[in-house]
Amino acid sequence: MQPYELTLADAARRIRARELSPVELVDSVLDRIGTVDPHVGAYVAVTAEHARAAAREAEREAARGAFRGPLHGVPAGLKDLIDVAGSPTSASSRVREGHRAAADSTVAARLRAAGSVLVGKTHTHEFAYGLTTPQTGNAWDRGRVAGGSSGGSAVAVAAGAATFALGTDTGGSIRVPAALNGVVGLKPTYGLVPRHGVTSLSWSLDHVGPVTRTVEDAALVLGVLAGHDPRDPASLDLPALDHAAHLTEGEPDLTGVRVGVPRDYYFDHVDPEVEAAVRRGIAELAALGARLVDVDIPMTRYIQATQWGLMVPEATAYHEGTLRTVPDRYQADVRILLEAGELMGAGDYLRAQRSRTLMREEWARMQEEVDVIAAPSVPMTAVKADQTTVTWADGTAEAVSDAYVRLSAPANITGVPALSVPVGHDTAGMPIGMQLLGRPFGEQALLRVGHAYERTQSARSLAPVA
């Protein structure tokens, strides 16, 4: 096994045992980027020299027995909405030509302090306003969409071109590409991970979180990212939790855990192969002792309206200046959404905010009955890059981007944590994701259930790129 193939947890164990040097690991990942990135286009920029220097420093520290934690010497890719001091934050957009971040974002600073080695910045759908990331090919079939908007991060992790990565999620942008590329993606509770220094799409819906090979890896990264920073007004000052502490290495056991299975919404207009794989995953949770509880998802008719009513005007507000000064630098799909957002009235925005109040209350009531909810992450696997609509069995046509957002949006509106875990492939070989949704700050329960499921499965291989 090559170092680039290691999970974060395995790499950390070997680095700690001095069986693997950070220099070997980072060189291996950089070589892998050189092999696969010409095929998949996951990276905007690779910072090889900086990475090698940081790896040598991590190696010097390891040689004298100084370990900063599980991320010590571990290479990471950051979605290119996340500021790193001295580097451009391109947002995968010509609008940002000439940009250079003056300081690290909170999450970049925390990764750096934890000893992680930044190997590069990964592609996003322009300014995170889309679900496909057209610059990047799917890690399993480059003719299919990577998913988005954190497409570069998910493809890099799936292909072995980063040991882990960070993404952002406003309407599924971590979970969608994670599901479509067969990796793990975690959208934490709103307010748990600070967004200072991260380009916004929609302030009230944006989250930052990890994209990893395993659930255990996601827990290790979350432990470094979480914690209060007053520079993000949404950041909450709450006691730190050890998110990896409850991931036992004994026999997986979910006795006493109540898993909600939606009777509606999450299994409507879902590809039969996706539904079958997710239901097999849920059956596996039951076989581990979990009790399955039927749940009814509240206010489903108003989910898309609430998501759009919040996101559209907030995104337009963020881009108000550059939409007037350099509109021609936006891609056509993003520009028209920003322009149309200028035409939405405050009444629509306030109705969406009041709907969020109601939805949050209804979800809190529903979640009193369960510890986690299990559902598909996305209704269908990665579509061909030129496919724009999907037609369901009842003849209903849906835009591909609307379909990919549909099952993710509730967790953005309500702020609850959500984790996408791979649960197999369809007959075309494309990955399928199961979504676990928790109560606010229920990350430990999500990670415990996801980890238990993963341990019933054989280890996943990297995507067969190149």
Partner: protein, 76 residues
Amino acid sequence: MSPADLTPPEAARWAARAGLHLPDDRHAAAAATANHIHSVVAVLRELDFGDTPPAGAYRATAGAYRAGKEKHDAAV
């Protein structure tokens, strides 16, 4: 086209009121996209909000944090 839909000239005028000059060749597309967005968000008018205040953002409380943690601690 519903009576509430914006025509291309109306879209241009509304954009101008918001301080955005739309070139002539963008009026039709802006109107069509704005009308589609309107058709999606308009369903919120069905809701009876009563005294419900707006939630500017999800705001978790220390109580929600403790509840989530206690639930988890009870489950493990």
